[in-house]
């Protein structure tokens, strides 16, 4: 039940402003920490909140592309959960602390487990070039616990997919005069996919997002269903749905260009936390007796 879930209690926020406040806190506390721990390093150029968000957005896309590479493909719920982990993780952790370039496969691996899509770690790394497999495998297994801890062990993610099926069944049953909802399915799924790249997941309940996806796909013909069949709050609900649609389609930013990402990655190299950099001496020292340090991934 979503109502009693940790997702509603801890991971659904009231507004974009609240999310931005979180990101600013994370960014500034990381910079403070870095200055305390490494006073010798001066003239370090840190990423701004805006630049961090750019990188997160870019790796959301990368993550979804990787999901499509699997044969057989991973279910939509796995992708959605992995993206939700990525969003949640970087609300509490700075990109500079644990760069997404290394972490995003950990999100996906954990999502496969939680959504009961069984892929062993050995098969999981087969999507990578052969020379990177062993190191990535070690990295994933070493960072699973860190991820869970940063998510406060709230691993269940309520995705909009099942609610959408529920609405389709309900519409077919209670509004047989409406268009066949099956016609909207492709478009609605496309909508949910786009929604993964926005903050909508952190602001609205999964059922509202699912309804918005169907409403958007039906081009308004669903309005009578919402007005007649979903209780007395229909006006405000329509407003809420329009907010979601605006949040998904109106706000689509131009995809981050590869050159921009490259320059950001370059900048990240200078300001990342050396203790978490697999190539750094500090990291090697930390793990020296346990295992071989990993490639940058």
């Amino acid at each position: 039940m979503f109502h009693t879930s940790t997702q509603r209690k801890y991971w659904t926020f009231s507004s974009e402003l609240e999310l931005n406040a979180f990101r600013e806190v994370v960014n500034s506390s990381y910079i403070e920490c870095f200055r305390d721990n490494f006073p010798a390093k001066k003239d370090v150029k840190f990423l701004t909140v805006e630049e961090e968000s750019r990188l997160i957005e870019y790796y959301e896309i990368v993550l979804m592309e990787v999901c499509d590479k699997f044969r057989p493909p991973v279910p939509g719920a796995v992708t959605a959960t992995a993206v939700a982990y990525l969003k949640r993780f970087y609300l509490k952790t700075s990109v500079m602390d644990h760069p997404p370039r290394e972490m995003f496969l950990v999100f996906l691996y954990m999502a496969c487990k939680v959504e009961e899509h069984n892929i062993s770690v050995d098969r999981f790394v087969e999507i990578l070039p052969a020379d990177r497999r062993e190191k990535t495998k070690e990295f994933i297994l070493a960072h699973e616990l860190l991820l869970m801890q940063r998510l406060s062990f709230h691993l269940t993610v309520h995705n909009p997919y099942r609610p959408m099926e529920g609405f389709i069944i309900d519409i077919k049953t209670r509004c047989p005069n409406l268009d066949d909802p099956e016609k909207w399915r492709t478009k609605a799924e496309e909508f949910l996919r786009k929604a993964l790249l926005t903050n909508v997941l952190l602001l609205y309940s999964p059922s509202q997002i699912a309804l918005a996806a169907l409403f958007n796909a039906s081009e308004g013909s669903l309005a009578c269903y919402i007005e007649n069949d979903l209780g007395e709050h229909n006006e405000r609900m329509l407003r809420q749905i329009n907010l979601i649609i605006a949040g998904v389609s109106g706000q689509v930013k131009p995809a981050v260009s590869k050159e921009h990402v490259k320059s950001l990655e370059q900048k990240l190299k200078g300001c990342r936390n050396p203790e978490n950099n697999p190539d750094n001496k500090l990291f090697k020292k930390k793990k020296a007796d346990k295992e071989q340090p990993m490639d940058e991934g």
């Binding site: 039940m1 979503f2 109502h3 009693t4 509603r8 659904t12 009231s14 309520h158 099942r162 609610p163 959408m164 099926e165 529920g166 609405f167 389709i168 069944i169 309900d170 077919k172 049953t173 609205y204 309940s205 999964p206 059922s207 509202q208 699912a210 309804l211 069949d229 979903l230 209780g231 709050h233 405000r236 609900m237 407003r239 809420q240």
Partner: protein, 236 residues
């Protein structure tokens, strides 16, 4: 486990072998039937406890828990075999029963007196020893009692501080959990079929049904999740 139900030789207990039969010989030591059979292949052998030469025929089933009683009964029986005048032998006396009883008592008395005379000093010494032992025992008992009382008093005091929760109380009443879903009420599982919801989903396969996953379950869950949290952020 009770000590008397164990064979001292093979350590078998009544608990492990309910058919265990313990036998006793004149020396007062016990043996189980199986051990007797293995030891006494000849008519006589030594007691494994005290090395007394025993005859196989003298083994009897143990009747009393206390081996001293057992032994005493044994001795009495033996003496009775010697002083075996019967009641009929006193028919000539004026009161035959009285005479018979006197006879039974007399013989014992005679013997006791004889013994007393023979061992006077030893008896006195031992009596003194016994008295001392009894006194020590009494003292010990007294101490134990004191301790017990102290403990009880301590517990009593505790009880006044934190009384034990009483077992009496109102009976448990089941209250069905209130499902708060923050959205429209989803239809109950029971009415899904009659309202036609199930017509719009793939019906459960045989294997799914066998696992307890009925069509209603899948359909109901989808609709419940669709309605849950639908009013989030729009209620006043």
């Amino acid at each position: 486990m009770d000590d008397w139900q164990t064979c001292p030789r093979c350590k078998t207990t009544k608990y492990r072998n309910p058919k265990l039969k313990l036998l006793v010989n004149v020396c007062g030591h016990k043996l189980c039937e199986t051990c007797v059979e293995t030891l006494f292949t000849r008519p006589s052998a030594a007691c494994p406890e005290c090395n007394t030469a025993l005859r196989r025929n003298d083994f009897r089933i143990q009747q009393f828990e206390d081996l001293i009683v057992e032994k005493e009964v044994d001795i009495r029986k033996r003496i009775l075999k010697i002083y075996n005048k019967l009641e009929d032998d006193f028919q000539t006396a004026s009161d035959p029963l009285r005479a018979y009883n006197d006879y039974l008592e007399e013989e014992t008395k005679k013997q006791i007196d004889k013994y007393k005379k023979d061992n006077e000093s030893l008896i006195r010494k031992n009596n003194f020893k016994l008295q001392r032992r009894v006194e020590a025992l009494l003292l010990e008992k007294q101490e134990k009692n004191d301790k017990k009382k102290e403990n009880e008093q301590f517990l009593d005091r505790l009880e006044t501080v934190a009384p034990l929760p009483s077992t009496e109380g109102s009976k448990f009443v089941y209250v069905a959990p209130q499902v708060e879903n923050n959205g429209p009420t989803a239809p109950d599982m029971e009415v899904l079929a009659s309202r036609g919801y199930l017509r719009h989903i793939r019906s459960a396969t045989r294997a799914e049904k066998a696992g307890g996953f009925s069509s209603e379950l899948a359909c109901g869950r989808a609709i419940q999740e669709a309605f849950a949290g639908l009013y989030l952020g729009i209620e006043t």
